[in-house]
Structure formats: structure tokens, C-alpha cells
Symmetry: C2
Subunit: 369 residues, 2 copies
């Protein structure tokens, strides 16, 4: 049962492959329209250009607090004036039949509000990670989408990324024997102290909410298990102007039911992006592991000597796979492989990590987690 | 003050360099004679051949419970019959002026007894790691050598190994910025369930006592700091015939006063031998990190692209450096850079690691540690 989710991931990948040439083709039709909420770096520079790589998704609207920027982006992408929303007019998106899905690319503290408003407006929702800033918010988001009978998916793009999919396949195939531990280090040097990610009211937390969540995710999808306990320690220089409100480095250890351990580091003070899965017969290592592009992987017994070229995915990029997956779920009625429940699982663990670091003790994760 | 020990290591390395061509040459003379106690794999196959690489050390006697093996080894190395001891006749080594130093290469549980008996026989002592199987034994060993006015050194060969010395230099030089964390994984697949290392009465513990101690050592010598707290979790399949008495995998996290964290894995179920030191400007990585030979290192910002060739040491091998260092300490009256006190520091932390794993909680390390 522990391997259910990993199997689902692999099945989903297989279904995507099949979908490109087989049964799922029946479920195609006009591309679905996405409204991008938030024209910050991620929405504007990362997501919007990806519609060019999609088979089933297109840009249909933008939502921004900056009318000039919204008008410029709309013009660049051939959207009519009626496809431009402010946060004040956002709820009228219910009247726009071109918009099927709302993609929430806002600061973390606004994820819950805009997911719930989108669901109430009758739209399916893609919400960027972290899903929200508390378990309570995640639960409210899931409930709102359920009430509105709309799909909710979290922007966990690595589930559509070739290197990570191949790592999951290798780890679950027995190729490296019985799994013993996972290590993952995710961090970058945060330079600008003024960024919203460093303001607790907007971010809900520091490096863990932003980049460390990739290490947590990787530990879970590579083992296919849910952790039963966590221990965490924080190391933050509070005299550093970047870290007056949120944590810099947090180190957490997850215990899995099979005996696998995961040791994860998250930080805003060093550049690291790597994942190691160690089995009793060998290892799989990814570095960089979870970047937008250029991820690489190796497998072997005592070194990185053998680089692995993962099989191509049916989608052009991980982003296109992510965007199109939600469309296909809406069409088929399936749950997204990274649903709101998946975001909630991470948030329960994140709350436990913060609590462990605060209280200096091991926290057992309940059956619900 | 935290960096004292690291500075001492570097000074010792510098002194060795100077010693090869300068002032310390005055302290030379006839090579000192070592008695090897224990003709197991390590004493026989690893240490004895290393005397050929030494400038100041030679094989002078062997101590074994196997008379035929002892006679064969003595013959191979041109030792007279009077240089062969059994465990019963060991104490008469006091009457052998050819023996200056006793090197204890026995199972861990016998380190204390033979170190104390050697000191009482008037010999200086090199004791293999781990120093013993308890803090109390370590303290008794130190006291015995102090009473006998004999030197006591622990066989921490990595302090004489070129790659590790260069890593210490890089980490302390500022080359990778402010240190943030150390990761070290040390393990190998233990195959033979009958080995003494898997019998608690002889080993005192499992992988941590044997191979994980390298990760602990590396965390300390690379940061130059002493940990203030530790948390550990064990993961052992007790139904595995190898692990009925001792642990397989143990994961421990060390907190250092500067805010540096160290995450270490020790195991008998996977082959790993690596060390990473991460600073806010880059990293130093070693793999393999602490092997007898063939260690390699890389430095860089986001990858291993730049391999580093460490400067040559004045000694031919790490083992020769270790063996000759104790001779030089005896000649000059200096304390070994890896004295009994250093072995005791590790043992205090090891006891805390085991206690943390047993009790499932963070253990603060006292001022004494």
C-alpha cells in the first residue's frame, strides 16, 4: 500500500505516453483556457511561455494588480481586453467561458483565497506550491473545490519531469536493491532582502516553503511512502537582514515505515539542488535534480560514472506536462496525480517540521498525514 | 577558539612538511620499533606493509593468539623468535628494548585492556579507532598512559591523508565562504554474519563504531568545531542475520556553535564513502573520501566540475604519516594531533548518538564533550 502513490505516478506517466498515440486521444478537443493569476516572475516568465509547448492548454486570461503590465501581456499574447482582470474584478471571471482553469501564481498567503474564489467562480484550479501556508487553508481549498465540483491540482512540476520520472522508475524497479535512504539538498542564495518570499505574512515561512519543499516531495515520490515521524533543526542568522522574519536553513529527517530514512536540507544561503536515492545494491543521483531544465542523473554502485539519459516524456517540457495533465483530468474525470490532497500531505509534514524545529523534538505524524 | 583544533591539524601538516627538510630533522635517529598487537586483516594486511613507507618507524614485534601465523609473519619480516608474543606473554614486552610503541589492532572491546597493559609495560601506544567501547574505558586508557608517562595516539589516519588535509585547508580558508553544513555518508555492505564486528561484546556497536566514526570525525575536523547537540535515528532490520546484535544504519545530525549543521549516515547495508562541505560561496566534495587510497575531491559552486589535486604530503602514505607522527611526538615531547583526548571526544558523541537513537530525542552535549 505504501507504494500506491509511486505506482500511480508511473501509471500516469504511462497513460501520458499512451495518450499521445492511443486511447486518450478521444479525450482531446479544443485546448482549455487558463487564466494566470499573478504576473510575477513565475507566472509571467516561466508559465506563460510554456503554453507554446502545450497540446491541450492555452493562455485565455491574465489577472494582475498592475493594469499596464496586464495590458502589455494581453497584447503580446493576442488576448482581448475582456481577458484582463484585476483582483477586484477577478470574481467576474465566472462569466468568461474562455477560461476553464485558473492558475494561481500568487504569493503563498494568497493561494487559499484565490483558489477558493476561482472554484466559486466555477473554474478548475491549478495552484502553485506550496499549496498554502497552513493545513487549515489547504483543507478549506479542498472543500471549496469539492463543493464546486471543480478539479484542484498543485503545481508540482517534477512529477512530469523526465529525470525525476526515471529516478522513480529506477528506485521502484529494484535496480538499486532495497532502498535504504534518500538525501536531498535544495537551496539557493537569496540575494534581495525585499522579496515577498522573505516576508512571513506573504510567504508563511522561509526556504522550506519555497525550495525545501522539493526535497520533501522527492523523499516521498522516490520512496512511494509516507513519513511516520520527523525531526528538524533550523539554523538562521537572525542578524542577517534577509532573515529577520523567516528561516534560512532547516535540516529535516523523515522516517518511513519500511525503515528508509530521508535527510533533507533546505536553505536560502547556499546553492544546492540534488537528490540521492541509496539502495543496498546501488544508487541513483540527480544533480541538478529539480530545475526548470537541464536536470541530470547518474546511477551506479560507488560513483556517478554512468550518466542516465531518461526516456523522453510525451510532453515537450515538464511545464507542458503539468498544464496539459489538469486538462486531461477535467476531460476524463480523473483526479490529478498531484491533487489538493497531495499538497495537503506536504503541508501537514511542513507544519510538523516547523514544530519539531521550534520544540527541538521528534514529531510523530498521525495516520492522517 | 572553535577553530583551534583545525588550526592545530594544519600546523601539524606544516610541521611535517618542515620536518622533512628542516628543523625537525634533528629529532631523527634510529627508527622506532612498533609491536603490532593483533594479526587480523587490518594489522596484518594494512599496517604491517606500511612500515616500508615509513621514515621513522619499523616493525619490531608481533602479538597474536595464533602461534603459527605469528611465526610466519615474523619470518617474513626478519624478526627473531624473541619478537613474537602471545596474549599470555604480552606483558613481558616490557623487557624488549626494540619495542617503543605498541599498536593495538584488536577488536574494539580489547582496545582498553591492551592499551593499559602496554602503557604499564612502559610502551607508547597507538590504538586503532574506535578508541574503545565506552567513555569510561577511554578515560581509563588516558589515565593509564598519563600515569606511565607514555604517549597515546588514536589511529585516525585521515588526519594524515592528502585529500582530507586539503579539504580542511579549503574549508578554513574562506574559499567556499561561510560554512553552512557538512554531509557525510559512510557505509559498506557487510557480507559475513560471523565477523567480530557484528558481535556486540567484541565491537561495542555496529556500523557507527566501525565506519560511521569517519563521518563524525570529518564533521569535526572540517568545521573545526565541537558539536553542542546531537539527534540520531537507527534503521536496522533485526530479522537480518547480520544485525541481530548491532545496528545497521544510523543517521545522526550534529549542531555546531556557529550554526553549521552536519548530517551523517552510517551503514552496513550500502556502499557509500563521501563527504560534502557546503559554504555560502561554494562547496568541497570528497568521494571516495576516507579510503586507504584513491580518494578524490572536487570544488566548485554547483557541481563537481573542478577536480582538485591536493598537494603531496611529506609522508608517502597516510599510514606512514600516522605511524611516523607518533614517533616524532615521542622524540619531541609533543602531544599527537589525534591523542587519546581526541578519541575520547568522539566516544562521548558516539554514546550520545546511541542514547539519542534509543530515546528518540535530541541530546545536548555537555561542556566536557
Amino acid at each position: 500500500m505504501d507504494f500506491d502513490r509511486r505506482d500511480i505516478l508511473l501509471s500516469a506517466a504511462a497513460a501520458l505516453v499512451a495518450g499521445s498515440s492511443g486511447a486518450a486521444r478521444a479525450a482531446t478537443g479544443r485546448p482549455f483556457g487558463y487564466a494566470i493569476v499573478g504576473l510575477g516572475q513565475y507566472g509571467l516568465k516561466t508559465i506563460i511561455p510554456q503554453f507554446a509547448n502545450c497540446a491541450h492548454s492555452r493562455l485565455a486570461a491574465v489577472v494582475s494588480g498592475d493594469p499596464a503590465k496586464a495590458a502589455r501581456v494581453a497584447a503580446e499574447h493576442g488576448l482581448p481586453a475582456s481577458a484582463i482582470y484585476s483582483y477586484e474584478t477577478f470574481d467576474t471571471i465566472r462569466n468568461n467561458p474562455d477560461v476553464d482553469i485558473v492558475y494561481v501564481c500568487l504569493p503563498n498567503s494568497m493561494h487559499a483565497e484565490y483558489t477558493i474564489r476561482a472554484a466559486r467562480a466555477g473554474k478548475h484550479v491549478m495552484c502553485e506550491k506550496p499549496m498554502a501556508i497552513s493545513v487549515a487553508e489547504c483543507e478549506a481549498m479542498i472543500a471549496a473545490c469539492k463543493t464546486a465540483k471543480r478539479k484542484l491540482m498543485i503545481g508540482y512540476r517534477c512529477h512530469f519531469e523526465a529525470t525525476n520520472l526515471e529516478a522513480i522508475r529506477l528506485a521502484s524497479s529494484g535496480a538499486i536493491g532495497k532502498l535504504r535512504y534518500v538525501r536531498s539538498e535544495h537551496g539557493f542564495v537569496m540575494r534581495d532582502p525585499s522579496l515577498w518570499r522573505l516576508k512571513r505574512a506573504l510567504s508563511g515561512g522561509g526556504s522550506l516553503m519555497d525550495i525545501g519543499i522539493y526535497a520533501l516531495q522527492a523523499s516521498r515520490y522516490l520512496t512511494g511512502e509516507e513519513p511516520v515521524a520527523v525531526y528538524a533543526r533550523e539554523s538562521t542568522d537572525r542578524s542577517d537582514p534577509r532573515f529577520t522574519e523567516v528561516e534560512d536553513m532547516i535540516d529535516f529527517t523523515l522516517e518511513f515505515p519500511s525503515g528508509v530514512m530521508a535527510g533533507c536540507y533546505s536553505m536560502y544561503s547556499a546553492n544546492q539542488n540534488r537528490v540521492l536515492v541509496m539502495g543496498d545494491k546501488g544508487r541513483v543521483e540527480l544533480e541538478p535534480a529539480t530545475r526548470y531544465a537541464g536536470n541530470r542523473m547518474w546511477t551506479g554502485r560507488d560513483g556517478r560514472e554512468q550518466e542516465v539519459t531518461p526516456p523522453a516524456t510525451p510532453h515537450k517540457t515538464q511545464f507542458a506536462g503539468q498544464l496539459d495533465h489538469l486538462v486531461q483530468c477535467v476531460r476524463t474525470g480523473n483526479e490529478p496525480i498531484v491533487s489538493g490532497e497531495e499538497g495537503l500531505r506536504d503541508m501537514r509534514i511542513i507544519e510538523a517540521i516547523y514544530r519539531s524545529a521550534r520544540e527541538g523534538r521528534r514529531i510523530q505524524l498521525g495516520a492522517k498525514a
